[in-house]
Symmetry: D2
């Protein structure tokens, strides 16, 4: 019944075994070890293209590094109003860029609306120093609302970015959950649809601490290694990150784990949909499910041992949530079980 977050789960056995395997002996430090190089090549294989991989310790670091790597004076990044980048990173992207601005863009279900994006970008005309200059569009896949951009939706966003010379970044804290939901290849979900770089998160999907900024476009983010070092994310024993990634990709572990948590997510969604006590806030098909309940009832369920968190009401839902109600988020992890869903259902419905 612990659906507080997918980062409440620990590390998968395969991840631990790889760490164990690589824990003895010597390896060159600071990302220049043999394993580090091999895992970088694995990323290239997974994405079917040459790419530069910057390992970091957190998604906050990956996202901030992405913005900082393309920063120019007066730089502005366009992101969804509910994006983790603005709503949950404590201002890290602004800090890492020495004052870069996040321009918030609306859109339903956690997805940037192309029209709203065009309008926002138009608000920063080129060479107009009274305002600043657009440098980056960043979107989250899957979104903070548990939804996914379709490939068509991605293309629409990327077309706007390209048209205005903006880099396109994907916050992939739940990249795997999105990938198995959209049902395409990693390449299709990224560079084949105009994405220049991805914050590739594995922590929420069964690793301890394994994140990377993956850069497809060799022209951008050229000096990301300097920024990473300055953010304190160049690990001496980088192999503790790369050992995790090795196991993560081995035998498609990452996809298996994501399919599992998505399937529990689907079970949660079904349970909510059929409930007469709570109702679905909006449909989502990954491992994050959102429901509306009375605050007084929710606190009873939390007392009974259930774990989930309130979620800020999206603007489009303000009318639908009554004063004594609240939107709540359920997150399934790689160790969530069908029994967890049933237990939660029992707590809610009795």
């Amino acid at each position: 019944m612990l659906f507080g977050s997918d980062n409440w789960a620990g590390a998968a056995p395969e991840i631990m075994q790889s760490l164990e395997h690589h824990s003895s002996g010597y390896a060159v430090a600071y990302g220049d070890g043999d394993l580090d190089k091999r895992v970088e090549e694995t990323f290239c294989d997974v994405f079917e293209t040459e790419c530069r991989v910057y390992f970091v310790g957190t998604g906050t670091a990956a996202n901030s590094l992405a913005f900082a790597s393309v920063m120019r004076p007066g730089g502005v990044a366009f992101c969804h109003a509910e994006a983790h980048m603005t709503a949950n990173e404590g201002g890290a992207p602004e800090f890492a860029t020495g004052g870069g601005r996040l321009c918030l863009v609306d859109g339903e279900l956690g997805k940037i609306s192309p029209d709203a994006l065009s309008a926002a970008v138009a608000g920063y005309p080129q060479h107009f120093n009274h305002l600043g200059q657009g440098t980056l569009v960043t979107l989250t896949q899957s979104t903070e609302g548990g939804t996914c951009y379709s490939l068509e939706e991605l293309s629409a966003i990327s077309a706007i970015a390209k048209q205005h010379g903006l880099a396109l970044h994907m916050d992939g804290a739940r990249f795997a959950n999105a990938l198995v939901d959209v049902g395409c290849s990693p390449a299709e979900m990224t560079w084949k649809n105009g994405v220049d770089m991805v914050s590739f998160g594995a922590t929420k999907n069964g690793c301890w601490c394994a994140e990377a900024l993956v850069v497809f476009n060799p022209e951008i983010a050229k000096e990301a290694e300097f920024v990473r070092k300055q953010m304190g994310h160049l690990f001496s024993k980088t192999r503790f990150v790369t050992a995790q990634f090795q196991a993560y990709f081995e035998g498609d572990l990452w996809l298996k784990l994501a399919r599992h948590s998505n399937s529990i997510g689907n079970a949660l969604e079904k349970m909510v949909s059929q409930s007469n006590r709570i109702r679905l806030a909006w449909p989502s098909k990954t491992n994050q499910i959102f429901f509306i309940a009375k605050r007084s009832e929710a606190s009873v369920w939390l007392e009974a041992g259930a774990r989930f968190h309130p979620f800020p009401t999206p603007r489009s839902l303000v009318e639908e949530v009554r004063p004594d109600e609240q939107v709540y988020r359920l997150v399934a992890s790689y160790i969530s079980t069908q029994a967890d869903v049933e237990n939660l259902s029992r707590v809610i419905h009795t």
Copy 2:
């Protein structure tokens, strides 16, 4: 024969076992889990005082966080000219402070000279905005030269810091190596001698990635948690760091590992001292040993499989190092062996 760095070694078995033990199940994220709390208390026990512990991923992050936590407009930190803070962090402390300055202070054997520190501090008179304002003194224990400040030497530095209202920070990337060499308690080597905060490093001493900024003085570094978040060092699964620390302190593992690497360091020093091919650059009693050799000879030894790195010639040694010579650094790790020393000696002397 691999004496390149103590961060070329992996993770000790006890560290791995603890990670394994804590890898399953759920824990509250972002440092609020039960293990996280318990390990914070262990730090308080180890240091025999209340302290705030900010877990981070690298020594670079801990050092930068220390400076940033006490930063004021125009802030200046005083450090040794060879300090890791200035010579090896890629400008991270300046970056994290949005432009804080490192004022370099001389001193023999890697240790800040009290006289030189007084002169440097006097160079920034109070309330003189044409220059900036001193905010921090930072020293490394053990130093980048493998030496240690005695408790008396620490007191001399801390007296100057206190006199001018400056916070005193210790870069303890090799805190354990210093502690067993100086032969005192953690409290004596820190707050009992005026140290306000320590970058407590465990990575170089058998952990994967376990660093913390430990703050003794509750009046300073009040908002370090915001800075840490902005640097991307608030880990969701913080228990992967605290699990390492738990094992690190358990049964004094940390002291055992440090005694071991120091003893290998001593064996290396003895070997160098008795050599007729190389000579000791300066005496040091921890796990870092420095020797002078001909470049042409050193490259032969490296070809033969030995591993060590050149080290910048300290100003005080410039006269002693001939043009065809170079200072080199040997670092013993927790897995270095007496046989490694003998093999290296064989390579050098045959």
Copy 3:
């Protein structure tokens, strides 16, 4: 007919005479001259309280200095969505704070709505490092929409700021225009109603370049002098700023100039109100008047020599402005004349 901006006008004769008078001979540099001290005292007289005065070169600098002076890690400033601070400073406040965030707050007629402010402030709970921490509320008087907060409205905003421990800053780029419209004393419009600091602008009201951050609360902005220096706004020959201010206050020149430009503003508003070609966008009583016109017609008037600029449509007006229409801004300056108004009227109506 040149109503492009009040900063298109030059410098009033009295200002020039004072500069001329103070141009010869020596004076101690960097703000420590006799005249500099006297003018600081004049500010204290004008505001009927002790205050610290930081002379700077632009309103952008004064506003950025205000935010930077109270900055803490993760700091957030709350401002109106149309505020100069966010819409016209090229990101300077974010830059000066190394990544401080501007949280945009809605409200009609350019004024922060107390309810919207309370909601925005509540969005940053204390000690929650995933988001940041509120440090400042900043409002513009008179607003970018030419309107003024009444003393009651100021009190409502300041009560919210105080309740949450936030500093309150007033962007007074057109302080004098507001003052003569509200009809109160400088003290009443500021510290007596909870304002902690004011960007006191004189440039738009007949000076060349005379701006100051005036700080009433001695507890805040203690280190503003270091920030000002770092922004490059500590002028060596500060008397060129203070000489302007001396004349500005002498014989209430500042109020006379502001009354004049407001009166022309009123004439413009009357002209617009009576027009059958254009209509008032909203009522405002200072020197800035906003009207709605057809784009095609406006371009004809501009061809005929009139000068005014388009203004972004406020959210509340989106419904009222037809696709072929645009909001335009007219600004009267200290040298605008009744004849200018008549000429503009003739161009528009014939």
Copy 4:
């Protein structure tokens, strides 16, 4: 007898007349006015090449803008250990670059030694993120020690900069004083000898507040306009700066004023050289003269109305200055007179 600084003098009559002349009527704001454009063209004429001119309010701003305009992650600027950039700007260059580092380089008489520069640059190998990356060499002409680089010395520095792909910046706070001393054209003293940009100072030479960053190389500093705006140095009524520059160049006023202050400097140097109470610290040929005197005697002269400041003892002079002595600086301004020299001499020698 007021030789405290050349910025203690006010503004020359010609400067005031130009300000007066341009004070009435309207002009387009923010540097787009007719006068602004004409003065930019005058700069091109003076330097005999196309150049971009960024007007700012202080030398601190111009120098910081120079560094910030070429900043890259981990960027390092090389400057003389006594340079204004490091010794008198309150950390503004580091602040404007979000943490750029000033690497101090030695050299006699305030001039960067080519050998020391080469060694310093070599200390930052390319693509080595543990240290940072060189981006800029900055030198002062005339130097803080009143001396000037010869054209050959400039070429030697610029060759090193070019060889390593570093931009070359000249801090020309006293550009005119250097120019008339070196006796060459502005072009020869800058871009013809490899200088990419100049902080062109006029304030110390008879203006109120007239500084500009002049950029010769169109490939660098492309986004300086955004940085200037963020530093709060885009003046709305830019004509108050350009009006000063117009008069400054008109009829070679700038050269006349500089020749005058240099000639007074020479008279001061002669007086010091012939003194039996004080001695010349080192020879300099511009408007800044440095002498060594007993502290006790100097305070008597100051009591008697003389004005001059102590100057930090350069490393090369440490042996020559006795404990009861001090180095002092005399600065002649555009209004200094031969009588001032004689009065000072009388005070010293009686």
